[in-house]
Symmetry: C2
Subunit: 241 residues, 2 copies
Amino acid sequence: MDVAVIGGTGAEGFGLAMRLAAAGHHVTIGSRDAGRGAESAAKASELVGEALDGTDNASAASGMGRDGVVAVTVPFEGHAEIYRSIKDAVPPGAVVLDATSPLATAVGGRPWQVLRPWHGSAAEQAKAILGDGPRVVAGLHTIAAEALQALGHDVDSDVLLCADDPEAKQRVGSLLDGIPGMRWVDCGRLEMARVAEPLTALLVSINRTYKIKDSGFRIVGRDTWGSSGGPSEGSSGGPSG
Amino acid sequence: MDVAVIGGTGAEGFGLAMRLAAAGHHVTIGSRDAGRGAESAAKASELVGEALDGTDNASAASGMGRDGVVAVTVPFEGHAEIYRSIKDAVPPGAVVLDATSPLATAVGGRPWQVLRPWHGSAAEQAKAILGDGPRVVAGLHTIAAEALQALGHDVDSDVLLCADDPEAKQRVGSLLDGIPGMRWVDCGRLEMARVAEPLTALLVSINRTYKIKDSGFRIVGRDTWGSSGGPSEGSSGGPSG
């Protein structure tokens, strides 16, 4: 699959880019500056042993077409600006994965505190800026950057996906299922991101209390997650995790 | 330990009362009506095979003293009123476990939607009403009533505890550790309830998507949870789960 990682020079995006390249996907790292994007891509290529591309954010997004995924991994303070900068580049109907948590660090607060975005969540803010064309999926808030970057280790946390479009959710889920140890759980509509995004802050608080770096969540109550298997979800298969 | 379960005639409170009685604690079920409290206690006693007491909410709370726990398990629509009704009965210094999630059902909304209480969370609302004497701990939002009532089965979900007072958090944690399968995780200060309480809505959404009844959370990243082991946490042991 073709994947653009907008903000892919940051810790979370860089880890995601490497994991997806290692899983065999064609990854383009986007950055505000095309040169830094290319630099990060070269570094990631060396670490993973697979070729990644790098360029500016808008070029990375525009290259995805309808079949790819545009993953946006940026801090909340740059979230609206980055979305405005790629808005015209994201193809109509494209699937956009928003991984931003509205941490209070955006306004000088602490990483275990969250802001309440005007639209309800960062993902809904992304949707408001992008308009009705692209299909936004919220996810990855429960995955630490450290866990993504530790290529030799399985990721020990579930991804909670929220989206209004079942096919978009399924596509992102299938993409993330390729990362060892990762499973995706269908958490409902995009507005559920209001609950899922602040979980980053809860994990930061737990990490702080126990002096660890990569606490995470596993959902229990069923043996397998991923596609809920309803007829409205299409014919795609279940999770691999 | 002496435990009062305020609102113990509801599904969550009744399940908690039975679990704690089964673990050997002395449980008093509180209700708005003393007769209904006694009735529920008789029913629970029969199901568990251990004697529970039942009375009105204020009498149940006032009987706890400084060494017990007052657990409040009421829907958000009755939360403020119930706290005002027991305020003068809760002994100063008592430990209060608030298990309420501010679900939108309180105002006719859906159980996968949440309200934002004025004080930030239901638990902070409880603290605002009770004043500085009692020590409020938020928890149990990730435990389904069905799971508590299924006495023959281990509970497969972690309890996320938030409180400003480490000793109060530890006391509630030790109490809940006695319930088979349950573990408690220290999630930081009471204000983290703003993130933990809405998890009930997320689990409702997951249950709805997958047509199940008791999804839950397990925290990963460490082998044991419970007390974080810092010197300020006292000499109590780790979790049993």
